[in-house]
Structures are given as C-alpha cells and as structure tokens.
Symmetry: C2
C-alpha cells in the first residue's frame, strides 16, 4: 500500500451499467462512494439481486471514514443494507436530503434503524481523516443528486455520480456550474464521470420540457389516464400531478414504491399536491373515467408491478378497459425491452390506447448526453480522467470525448472493476488488480456466486431431473426392494412416464451386475446406475436430464 498515493478502486460500475461502488483511499484511510446493486439477468436463475463483491472492505472496515451516496437510485444505494450488515456501519453515511430520506426508509425495512445517516448540504465541507469532503449539487432524474469532491494532499478528485446539465430543472436549481468552474480553476486532479449517455450526441432534453408534453397528451385523452414512470423520479410525478390538477382530474398513486417515494418526498417538502387531490386506488371506480389520473409503477414491465397486473387483468383496484390511455413516461432500460413490449401489447389487446416516448416527448433522460459530458470536462479541467458508470462501449466513447476537448490521451484511463488507479503529484498509473467479483442475493442469503448451484439449476431447467432410488442389502448387494424412479421438469410426461418401468429394469440389471461383480463401494454402484439410466433416457428421449442415483443399504 503506497502511503501517499490517492487510490481509486472501482468495485462496480465499469464495463456494466449498474452496481456502482468506488473505494477511495489515502494514507490508509477510506471513503466509499456509492453502494449500488444490479438486477440479475435471465441466466442468473433464481437470483434476486447482484451486488459488487465488497470483501475488500471487510478487512478494512476499521479504516472507513465514511460512505458517501451521490443519489437515491438503487444502482447507487441498493447494496447499502448488505454492506452495513456485513462490515458494520462506518462512522457516518452522507448524502443529499432526499437521498438520506429514501435510504432511511430502506434501512428501516432491513431493520437497520441505527445507521448513522446524515444530510450534508451541498457546499458544506467536512474533514474525514485525510479527506476533505464536499458535495456539489447536480441535476438528475431524482432530486438531490450530488457530485462528490474529495480533497487530499495530492489534490482534488470529483466523482460525478449520475448527472445532467438541466438548465431548467423542475425545482429551479440547476447544477452548480459555478462551483464546478471554481474547481476547474483551482485545478482538478481526477474526474470520474458518468458515461451512461456517452453514445448520444447533443444535449438531453430538460426535465421541465416533459410537463407541457404530458399536459398536451393528457388533453387528448377522453377516458382514464394511467401514467407509468419511475417512482423515484419525483419531479416527473410532480409534473403528472400538476397536469392532472390543470385538467381537473383526481390522482391515485398505485404501486407500493410510488406511494412510498411520494410520501418521503412530500414530507421533505420536495413534492406537493393540493389537498383533496388524491384518491385511494380502491376509489377509482367511483369517479368518472375522464376525472381520473392513475400514476403507477411498472414502466419497465416488471412482472409483479401494478401496471403489469393491470395489463394482465389481475390488479385488485384498476381494471383497464377500452377508452383508457396508458402513458409510458419512461423508456425501457436496456434488457427490459421485451417485458415492456409485452406489457404494451397486452394493453392493446384489452383495447386501451398506449402513448410512449416514441409518439410524444414525454420522457427525458436523467443522464447528460455528449455535449454535457464535454461541458463537465471543460468546466472542471481535470488532469486525469477515469470514465465510470458505463459498459465498455460507453467508457471508450467517454474517453474519446475527453480527448476531443483536449485531455492528453495518456491521462485518460480505461478502467475496469477491481483495477485501482493510483495518483500522486508525479502521475497516475493503474495499480495491482484485485478480484472484483459479484455477490448474489438469493432470498435472504448473501454470498459468493455459487457456480455449482447455478450450473445445476441451468441443467435441470433445460431438461429436467430423474431421481432413481435403489435399496440393496448391506450383506450381499442384492436388491431388497423395488427401485423407485421419479422425474420432474421432464418435457413430454407421457414418454417419460412410459420409461419408468423400463428404467426400473435397467436399475435392477445394473445392481445385479454390480452385486455379481462384487462391486460394493456405494459410489461405484451409483456411478454404474447413473450411466445405465442416463443411457436409456438419452436413447428414448434424446435429452440429457440430470440423473440422481440414490442407493440405500439396509
């Protein structure tokens, strides 16, 4: 460990979109920026959540000065309960007002009520061992997004978190470009910048451009309006509410996270609605269709979400019908396209109408586009650049943007998870790679990815499983009870069922052969049994289900 180098170790978020987490070290002390999670892909059968492997922090728990959270999205804060439970609480957890509010609710649910959460107002400075910490106000698709400035003896670094330069944000508080310019004038050592939209030329539309488009869309609707968006996008929800008020419609919030996030934001004064505007989901049917706006979770087609249930005619309170209009004020996150399309198509099947961001400008991304990434680079004039928050493609494109505004190519680093960047006055180089794996959350269990279990799940889910139970005498290995053959998940039950009697014969033959050959080691008997059964199953079904032979000696 070089004592006097600044060490920036990304544990997640590089070469992927999600589970952002970065360890910043100086002089043996640590600040952790963000503790995000990722949602599993379809191949991760049965896995609920994917976390960055934070075992590096386990041994260093004593050295952690603070955890700093840039904003309240799951890919930046979702792993926090697991981190706290595993390594204990650091002395303090900092973030913006809404971030802290949302995280407090999350930790309460995880029964971690005493975590040392503390709002740090943007612009305030706090000393954390060898680090001076300051948060910089930025804009994003959730209020209270902050960049993280960490200053040590070797210089200042900025982790942007997710950001855009929205010149007309809904809350009237644009990103603090003045402070960023000051940082640039004073000399920034390292910029770790969000790369999510490094592939999009131009500037992202302002969040406040969405409100008028929603109002116009709503104005054309005769029946009920169901709007779906991310529940954490408080300003979006606010704009839907404002449009509903203008059109004299009542509003129902549907979906647990929609109600929860609005309540948190409302209690903090970040969102508001005229009294009497809200109706309960169960009251919707009591109001004329043209007097109702439903704001619902499910913009990503999530299987258990309120909107998906409505589309499946399976929601307790809201039954979609012809004349309704479902407004998708969101775009599918990459990988969710199929689920979103399926949801949309079910809505069409019911006879309701759908409006998406393809038909009207009713969505604005929360991540800056290319011109905004360049603006950040030009404002802060970093000596070194490490693009973060992006797959390999976007990291590369962000690096090209940095080069295009004049950062020296040798000062731009293409990083990856587990590869620390080490900096001092003399330069910056990658240090020694550490293992940067993932942790799976499967129910309440948290642990290393269990390759064997996943491989078994995949094998069984492809072709099913046969279980063969044989009972033999411990004296002479002779069969003493009829073998049992069971199967699960084997397609074409009929053929499989017809196989069972044949398999029993094969089992008895195999055991008899073993007994006659004097084979008494159980594992050898089981191997023979496995091969005999697998052979016949393949011959008959042309499939290779998992075969589990169990030999019991009595």
């Amino acid at each position: 460990m070089p004592g006097r180098k600044l060490r920036v170790l990304p544990l997640g978020g590089l070469g992927e979109i999600g589970k952002n987490m970065t360890v910043v070290e100086y002089d043996g002390r640590i600040v952790v920026v963000d503790t995000g999670l990722m949602f599993p892909t379809a191949e991760m059968l049965g896995i609920d959540l994917v976390l960055p492997d934070f075992s590096y922090l386990r041994e260093r728990a004593e050295d952690i000065e603070a955890i700093v959270l840039t904003h309240g999205h799951e890919d930046h804060v979702g792993a926090l309960p697991y981190v706290l439970r595993e390594i204990g609480s650091p002395p303090v957890i900092y973030g913006g007002l809404l971030t802290i509010g949302m995280v407090r609710a999350k930790l309460d649910e995880h029964k971690l009520k005493n975590a040392p959460l503390q709002e740090l107002p943007a612009g305030d400075k706090v000393q954390l061992g060898p680090f001076e910490l300051e948060l910089v106000h930025l804009s994003h698709s959730i209020p209270d997004a902050r960049g993280v400035l960490l200053t040590t003896e070797v210089g200042t670094m900025l982790m942007t978190g997710d950001y855009k330069f929205d010149q007309t944000p809904v809350d009237g508080r644009p990103a603090d470009i003045s402070r960023l310019a000051e940082v640039g004038r004073d000399g920034l050592l390292l910029l770790c910048g969000d790369s999510t939209n490094a592939d999009r030329p131009g500037v992202a539309p302002s969040e406040s451009s969405v409100g008028p488009a929603l109002l116009e869309t709503f104005s054309n609707c005769q029946g009920r309006i169901i709007v779906t968006s991310f529940a954490s996008n408080i300003h979006r929800v606010q704009q839907v509410i404002d449009a509903a008020v203008k059109l004299d419609r009542r509003v129902a919030l549907v979906g647990r996270s929609m109600r929860k996030n609005f309540n948190i934001a409302s209690n903090l004064g970040i969102a508001n609605a005229p009294s009497g505007l809200f109706i309960q989901p169960r009251e919707i049917e009591n109001f004329p269709d043209e007097k109702v706006v439903v704001i619902s979770t499910g913009s990503q087609g999530e299987p258990l979400s309120a909107l998906r249930r409505m589309a499946n005619n399976d929601h307790r309170d809201v039954e979609l019908h012809s004349g309704d209009t479902v407004v998708f004020s969101a775009t599918p996150v990459p990988g969710n396209e199929r689920a979103v399309n399926e949801t949309i198509d079910r809505i069409y099947e019911i006879g309701a109408s759908v409006v998406t961001a393809k038909q009207a400008p009713i969505h604005a991304s929360g991540h800056g586009w290319q011109e905004e990434l360049k603006l950040m680079l030009n404002l802060t004039k970093p000596r070194y650049v490490l693009p973060v928050h992006g797959d390999h493609q976007r990291l590369r494109l962000h690096a090209e943007l940095a080069e295009s505004v004049g950062v020296a190519p040798e000062n731009i680093f293409q990083g990856r998870n587990g590869l620390p960047l080490e900096l001092d006055e003399n330069g910056a180089t990658f240090g020694e790679d550490i293992h940067a794996g993932v942790i799976f959350v499967d129910g309440v269990n948290v642990g290393e990815p269990d390759d064997v279990a996943l491989r078994d799940r995949r094998e069984i889910s492809a072709d099913g499983i046969f279980i063969v139970v044989a009972t033999i005498s411990s004296d002479d290995g002779q069969v003493v009870a009829d073998p049992e053959v069971l199967f699960r998940g084997v397609a074409f039950l009929e053929e499989a069922g017809a196989l069972v009697e044949e398999l029993k014969d094969v089992v008895e033959d195999s055991l008899e052969d073993a007994a006659n050959a004097g084979t008494r080691e159980l594992h050898l008997v089981q191997e023979d049994l496995h091969d005999a059964v697998a052979g016949l199953v393949y011959k008959k079904l042309h499939r290779r289900p998992m075969i589990i032979p169990v030999v019991v000696e009595v």
Copy 2:
C-alpha cells in the same frame, strides 16, 4: 362447416411476431399458407422451438390440397418438417425458387427428402380443387418473396406474406404492382396483410441504399472488417461482397447458415462472386488485415453464433483484435436487444470498433412501413381486411391505416389465432373459435406444451431441489436405514450442507411420529415428510426449493 363459405383460419402470427400459419378452406378443401415457427422466450426453460398447434390439420390431412410458402424465413417455413412428419405430405408444396431451394435443404437435414416441393413461377396459375392459386412477386429481405392469391367462387383473397415496396431492389425486380393493381380492379374480397412495421411512419429505405453505405463504412476501416447480417438476406450478403470486391478485399463466409444459404443462392443464380474472391475461415490469418472482409452469422447475439464466439475469444478461426471493425448490418429483433448489446460490449472490451445501423444507414428493414401498407391497400382495394403478422398493437395500427384509406370500419377485422374469418357474397363474420395453442419442440420431442414440466423447471431453477429418501420397515413403519438427503441447485451450498444432518433428524422424527400414529399409507407418510422438511428448509434458508420425499418400504 358451412360448405360455401371461404374460411380463413390463422393458427399463428396474430397477437405475436412469428409462427405464421394460416389455413384457408373452401368447400371442404384446404390450402395452408406458411408453416412458421417462433423462438422461445426466456421463461420457456429448455424449450428449443415454438410451433403453432396444427392439430386442426391432423384430422383434415386428407383435405389438404397444398401448402404454399410465401418466402424462406423461419417464421414462415420453420415448422414445415414437423408438420410433414405429423400429418404427412400434402400433394404439393409451392413456393418461389429460392424458397423451394432453402426448404429442400432444410427437409434434407430432417431426412424428409421426398417431400413434393415445387417452384411455382410468379404469375402462373394452378388449380387446386376449388382454389385457383397464383403467386405475386413482392420484395422483402430475402429474394423470391411472394404474395398468395387464392380465388374461389366467392372471390379472391390475398395473403401478402412479408413484403415491402422496394422501388430499387438489388435484383432489379420490384414488387409486381401492376398485377396488384389488376387484382384491385377485378375486385379483391379479402386482404390479409403483413403488419410488422405498421407503427413506422413513411417508407422503408430501399435495400439498394445499403450498398453505398456499406462501401463508405468499409472505406473508413483500416484493419479487418467483420460484417454480420441475417444469412438469409442474400442481397445484403451480395452487397457486402460487391463492396469487398471494390475495395480489393478477400471474403470469408463464417457460420454454417451463412455458407449454406450463400451456396443455395449461388447455385440458383441468385448470388454470385468473382472466382478466387472467397477464402476459407482458417486462411484469414494468412492475409493482411486490410485485405479481409469476414461475413458472419450472429447479428442477433445468438449464444452459439460465430460472432458471439469471436466476441468471447472463442472462435476457432477468427480472433478479434484492436483495429478490427465489426459492422452490424442488421437491427436487433425485439427481445434480442440485451444479447446484441452484450456482444457489442465484448467487442469493445477487446478493443475492436463497432458500427451499427445507428451510426450509418447500413440496414434496411424488409417489411413495408405505413405508407407502403397504405399503398398495398390502395392498389388492391380489398372489400375486407384482416391484418396479420403482428402483435396486437401492430394489428390495431394496421387496421387504423386501412380505415384511413377508406376501408369501411365494419369490414376491418381484428383477428386472433384460432378465430376463423368466414366470408361469402353476403358478408364476412368471425366463426367459432378453435383452440389455437402452441406446440413445443424440446430436443427431438414435439408435443403439447407441458405445463407441469415447465412449472417444475421454473420452481427448481428458482430455488433448487431437495431429495429425501427414507427406508422403513413394511412390518411396522420403523426406520430401517439412515435417511438420505441430497440437494441440487440450492444456493449457498454451505448453509444447505450444514442443514443435511438436521434434516435427517427431522426425517426420522417425522417417520417415527407416523409409525407411532399408525399411519401406514405411503402417500400420507410422504406428505408429512415433505411438510416437515419444507418447514425446516424454509426456516433455515428462507427459500422454498422443491422437496421430493421418497419412502421405500423393505
């Protein structure tokens, strides 16, 4: 069965994209138009292919006059081997030249060499019982696409198959709009039209616009060029070849279907390349990078495709490296976005460059956009319209297009699979719904979807499986051998392993209770055992794996 009604029964392709198959009946006789398949979604664990349920045809096999294929894509011909194997061959199978060539190769692979395949030149008429059949030349992303005209006493219907109105197709043979206009003048009873791009305003770009864009893209490449596209898009492959020739690069075809389809097309005179142009994949490394174009399968990110293997550094002949450019001359089919994005990102990780249709106009859809669907409607002036080939959204949008060009709303039908449209001189109405399910292909097995097997696969793939084997005396139900507890696919093996001894105790307790209570029915003993084991597993792991109790009496 109304004897003198034309009956159009879609078995697939409505409310979905894929497995197009339509049964046309008149006077007790049948013509089947297309026999397509669909690829399974991620939830269909272990399923290889999805076919329309064609059991309706099984009982009517004797009545089938012919199968007519509009073009050679899998979603229009892929189920043919399964149909032929199940219901036998009809007297004749018609299609265009390339369609027949590709289907012949497919049936050969399925060892169905004697199927009565016959090319029917566009414009030729043939009598099939009460039907007169004529194919109309159209353009699509595969050569020799044809619309199907079927004339009976009650009038003429047109199944378009997939089509676009490409005014400058690569082969110089635009859709036969003159014949379509004639059909319209003579009076068309029913149009069943492709709805795939009913959501896209305007006109699809011409296939021949792709060639110059490819040439320009290639001109900017210094190193090797790897182009990926659909292997069946012969004109696209031809244009890649032409660009390679102009740039004095040699060409390697990589991927089985790429070589197979090009050979078929080449033998039929539909594709051509200067002699000496092609090199073998294993020779690629012998040529300078700037002298090579690789044309590869894998444009959809298919896990086993040549391109995916290259991206995984796992291809026998082609090792991607920095300086290479991979050109995606295709867009992801809905649902494949994640696989395509993953492939692209791995290529970026290797350091190679990627060009997609977002950066350059190097792809053109094979399906007509809104203005083309309207042109088809205006040319053929159908009395009735049944939009086909599309999810519910696109069927609805196509219906709206029909209304916009003046088709009477009551003459436009929103159909679904299994719902026959019945027509005669007096009108058209939907007939009686038949069951229109799906057939799964799982290895060599073909059958009804097996809900139990799939449910079991899902259950096991989510949480794994515990198998508990107990051996009791047939005399008194007392335990006579140590219970066996096995598990597979259970995450966090350690915790599960630690459970095994506890579970054995639970098993023995449960059996003892049963014995003491005099419970001797095996299924009751097993139920108790199941519940006891499931209870402890849930308490310890907070998961609900499948529990299989096996009780053996000796």
